[in-house]
Amino acid sequence: MIINSRFFNRSELIGFVTLALLLFVILPLCLDIFRLNLVAKYLTYAFVAIGLVLCWGYGGILSLGQGVFFGLGGYCMAMYLKLEASSVANTKIQSTPGIPDFMDWNQITQLPLFWKPFHSFSLTLLAIILVPAFFSFIIGAAMFKRRVGGTYFAIITQAIAAIMTILIVGQQGYTGGINGITDLRTLQGWDIRTDHAKFILYFVEVVLLFGCIIVAQFIRLTKLGRILVAMREQEDRVRFSGYSVANFKIFAFCAAAIFAAIGGAMFTLEVGFMSPSFVGIVPSIEMVIYTAVGGRMSIFGAVWGSLLVNFAKTSLSESFPQLWLFGLGALFIAVVLAFPNGLSGIWADYVQPRIDRLLASRKSKFGKGWSDNSVADGAPAE
């Protein structure tokens, strides 16, 4: 199934190693735990961005509602952690001990049915993967089978993000409402709020992230990946060639949803709460911009984009809160107009050739060829 003989071509390998070095070694050594935790938060967005690279960069499906899946994964994890934090011992001052505090002050006296499965960690983990997959499957099937794409699809995903936000905020007895689910303390007895825990969670997350990168790269390299690219360029031809375009799109969309959900679950663990402010339209569009800045065609670019944009946000908003929004808006426009392939595009267009030339001049001295059979990275932007 794998077209290419090599899993990572040379430049990708360098990118992989650089990123691994940065995330596994350099950052943990250089940053204090507070900033490392911030990096962990930024990296949770990278999960969403990787998913978007698959479905938007390669598949041409722009989803402006990834916040929905981020939120679904995040809320699943939050529900599990909240139930653990709301043991009968911890909640004895409530009118109904044993249920989360926000249910108590909404006069709910019994744990609702859909919360019950979240007593179990394994069911929770399963839910984090399956629930978003299920929803994305339904949405994808309904839309792609009827050949809805492009801008229509994008707007409908926005509407779905808006609906989910309203539902969560309105049903505050069941979901914690606009406050979200807060005050999460332990995971299977292990206190996740200590510095030590955050340190370990950071590494868990980075490992998961690289897992997702490898999966995404795998998808790219299989025939599926080729078809995604082909679909993005000339959908009709792919259809005429006998492939079911809708099924491939559904797959890409579901994959993106699952990645986003994993990110959401890690976010809940890192930050210690989940709220509807990550589910709506604004955060969903921001997640798209991380992908765009990094380069929508580049999986590593997605990670870099998430890190850099969020880092800029934190440092600029501390010093120049007014200026930051101008900057963010300008970033959107600049990336779209001038750098459609984002940073990785700049790298591929300007920096990589220089490196290649440098290396080629050295190689020619040794007279050895090293042909590069990689899948084309820098396909033209949409």
């Binding site: 779905i160 609906i163 765009a292 808006g329």
Partner: protein, 308 residues
């Protein structure tokens, strides 16, 4: 719930509720018309549509203050001046944006989405920096406040009637321009076949620019009208954007008629549901219904062809 009231009372309530629905309908049409022109005719998504509306609202506020200071005698009539100024302001900004940003992105509709979102962030922050983070209160002339009593029990808000009349006027105006004027013919030609339209001598760039400007200008007038019923602040545009998009998409962005039909359906559903349920549930059910219907018929109510 209905048992306590007389037939006359009930009749009055239904009449008032009908008007409430019509007012909501007019609001949606006004919001969506500008966007429908831009999206439907040009395929461009303008995520900054709400901010153009708010520009109109701020212009109205400034006009209101100017009249209060310099021309207090003419204050009752200031609103008409304000609307014209709002149209000009938003229209001009629209044309500028088209020249600077949109025209580079015609082949890439998804990218216009992102770029105009960035524009909306910039505009919001600009409003915040220029006018302050707080909301501004627009003072209305006396004759626009209050309501008219059609009978003892039935009262119709004047600003509601104003909005309905305005919507009617603008819709007729736009239809006339698009379907009966020479320029409208040019717009439709460019939309149907840009290359041929250029070949027969139509200045496609100019047509695009004016169309975008028209759409934004209408948004400005809508924003101006909404100062009567809503708030004006830097982020107020965000309140309208999702509803507006849904109205346009639900109607099948290919036609203005679709937009109107969709606005009517959505507004009536919502106001009826609001009467029997609470506001929150009504909104959710309406949105779910729209999304559900769109999933079954994604091209909208009146699509002429499937959009990709």
């Amino acid at each position: 719930m209905f048992g306590d009231y007389s037939i006359g009372d009930l009749g009055a309530i239904f009449a008032m509720q009908g008007f409430a629905g019509l007012i909501l309908f007019s609001v949606y049409v006004l919001m969506a018309l500008g966007l429908a022109i831009i999206f439907g005719q040009m395929g461009v998504i303008n995520m900054a549509h709400g901010e153009f509306m708010i520009l109109g609202a701020y212009v109205t506020w400034m006009t209101s203050n100017a009249f209060q200071h310099f021309l207090p005698a003419l204050f009752p009539g200031y609103f008409f001046v304000a609307m014209i100024l709002a149209f000009i302001a938003s229209g001009s900004l629209g044309m500028l944006v088209e020249w600077g940003l949109i025209r580079h992105l015609y082949k890439r509709p998804l990218d216009t989405l992102l770029a105009t979102w960035g524009l909306s962030l910039i505009l919001q922050q600009a409003y915040r920096s220029i006018f302050g983070a707080r909301e501004v209160g627009v003072e209305l002339p006396e004759w626009m406040m209050g309501s008219v009593s059609a009978s003892d029990a039935i009262q119709i808000p004047i600003n509601g009637m104003f909005v309905m009349a305005l919507t009617l006027l603008i819709t007729i105006g736009v239809s006339y321009v698009l379907f009966w004027s020479r320029w409208g013919r040019q717009v439709r030609a460019v939309v149907q076949n840009r290359a041929m339209a250029g070949a027969v001598g139509i200045n496609t760039e100019k047509v695009d620019r004016y169309t975008f400007g028209l759409g934004c200008g209408i948004a400005g007038v809508a924003g101006s009208a909404f100062t009567m019923i809503g708030s004006t602040g830097p982020t107020a545009g965000q309140l309208y954007i999702v509803d507006t998009f849904l109205v346009v998409v639900f109607g099948g962005a290919a036609s203005l008629l679709g937009t109107i039909a969709s606005a009517f359906t959505i507004s009536q559903t919502q106001s009826t549901l609001e009467f029997f349920l609470s506001g929150s549930m009504a909104k959710v059910i309406t949105l779910l219904a729209i999304v559900g219907i769109l999933m079954m018929r994604p091209q909208g109510l009146f699509a002429l062809k499937v959009r990709k």
